[in-house]
Symmetry: none
Subunit: 220 residues, 2 copies
DNA sequence: AGATGAGTTAACATATTCTTAATGTTGGGC
DNA sequence: GCCCAACATTAAGAATATGTTAACTCATCT
């Protein structure tokens, strides 16, 4: 959420946090872009009227990056300046919310927008994930890299699929065991390492990163 | 509610019970801690002036336990000894109420504090904290500064995360040990310094400030 | 039955993180 | 301005987590 007025930012953040949302705020366009790029949020709320870089410009710059292709972006705008609506939607905005803001209305609007973004993600889920030059095909249980088809064993694939499902997130060993092996199977504690090894052998060394003492993550 | 004077205890209890609150009382610090640990109340009221273990000390000991992280703690203090206020809030107190106590004022104060604690419970800790140009991401276990991703070791991250969880608050060494290392591990007293050093090396020198004789704090 | 390959284990190697200890530096009371 | 306790710094090595390899089990296929 990007707005240059601290009061509005704080007011909206309070309401969102109360509902359980995880909110990141920035008070100007540049900072907003920096945070957005670092975190790739599900929903971006931009005030249109801001000094230096306005919300429309922020939106345009974000939309130029492929990772914000499907991110829902909405604007905050004063009722009067309805001309801005056009520019805002032109530039790739999904919605706009007019000030003055009524908390209940605002929250239900946010909820609706996030539902939309979730749906978009769910729809895109189909069996093939394409990240960082890897095409991960759930149906064929294969990974394609540089036109080359790599066959993975079931456990290897499941492990990779889990890590890739949230790129950047660190999965703890416990979490991996629970999600790939299930809660009832008990295996030795070197098992994951061996699978990680085989995965790295097959897809390349630099995709899966070890965070010592915490777990593993997939990264670009 | 902990107070060594039975009359005050009885007077306040009477008023609170009349309003429908469930009150537990103790007449000294040790007993207070014992009951608090057993019951984990929503609000803790501590008289500062008590023989043996005073309220500030009780607060300090409670704050060292993770289960009292978010419990609202308030003090009772005679108006004159306002110096105690400083120590009280330093040590993790949320508020202080001055004697002599006016029942109506006292009750509205308690009500306000309990409202605060309710809110605090609902708010789950965010996974991403954005302060002073640092984006601290618990899920990815990274810190981003000026578009640059900084990798921290586990302990370093935990230490930073603790300090950043309350920017400006001074964390005593004892508190840091208890929250980052846990109460059962015993390590030498230069260990924290070394970790602080490494943190400062990685994120920059001016974020973590030493308060000699007291502890460390995160500041902008 | 024998071959095959996935999954697991165990033993040992390696690497990073954490801690220690020795020594240097600071800041506030006197 | 001196002194001392509290902190800073550094490098070395202890502690741990992970990496690696090879061998073993077990099901499946031929």
């Amino acid at each position: 959420m990007v707005d240059d007025e601290p009061d509005i930012l704080e007011f909206l953040r309070y309401n969102l946090v109360k509902e359980g949302y995880n909110v990141l705020t920035a008070s100007n366009g540049e900072e907003g872009i920096k945070i957005a790029v670092a975190e790739v949020p599900n929903l971006i709320i931009l005030d249109i009227m801001m000094p230096k870089m306005d919300g429309v410009e922020v939106c345009r710059q974000l939309r130029n990056r492929p990772e914000f292709d499907r991110t829902v972006i909405t604007f905050l705008t004063a009722r009067e300046e309805d001309y801005s609506q056009i520019a805002a939607l032109d530039v790739g905005g999904d919605d706009y919310i007019t000030k003055p803001i009524r908390p209940r209305v605002f929250l239900s609007r946010v909820k609706a927008l996030l539902r939309r973004s979730e749906r978009a993600e769910v729809i895109e889920e189909p069996d093939v994930i394409n990240v960082a030059g890897l095409i991960i095909d759930k149906e064929r249980v294969t990974v394609t890299k540089d036109e080359e088809v790599i066959e993975l064993a079931k456990k290897e694939f499941e492990l990779l699929h889990l890590l890739v499902s949230k790129p950047g997130k660190v999965f703890s060993r416990e979490e991996i065991f629970n999600k790939v092996w299930g809660t009832d199977v008990i295996v030795g504690n070197r098992t994951i390492d061996v699978h990680i090894r085989k995965l790295r052998e097959k897809i390349g060394e630099h995709y899966i990163k070890t965070i010592k003492g915490i777990g593993y993550k997939f990264e670009f």
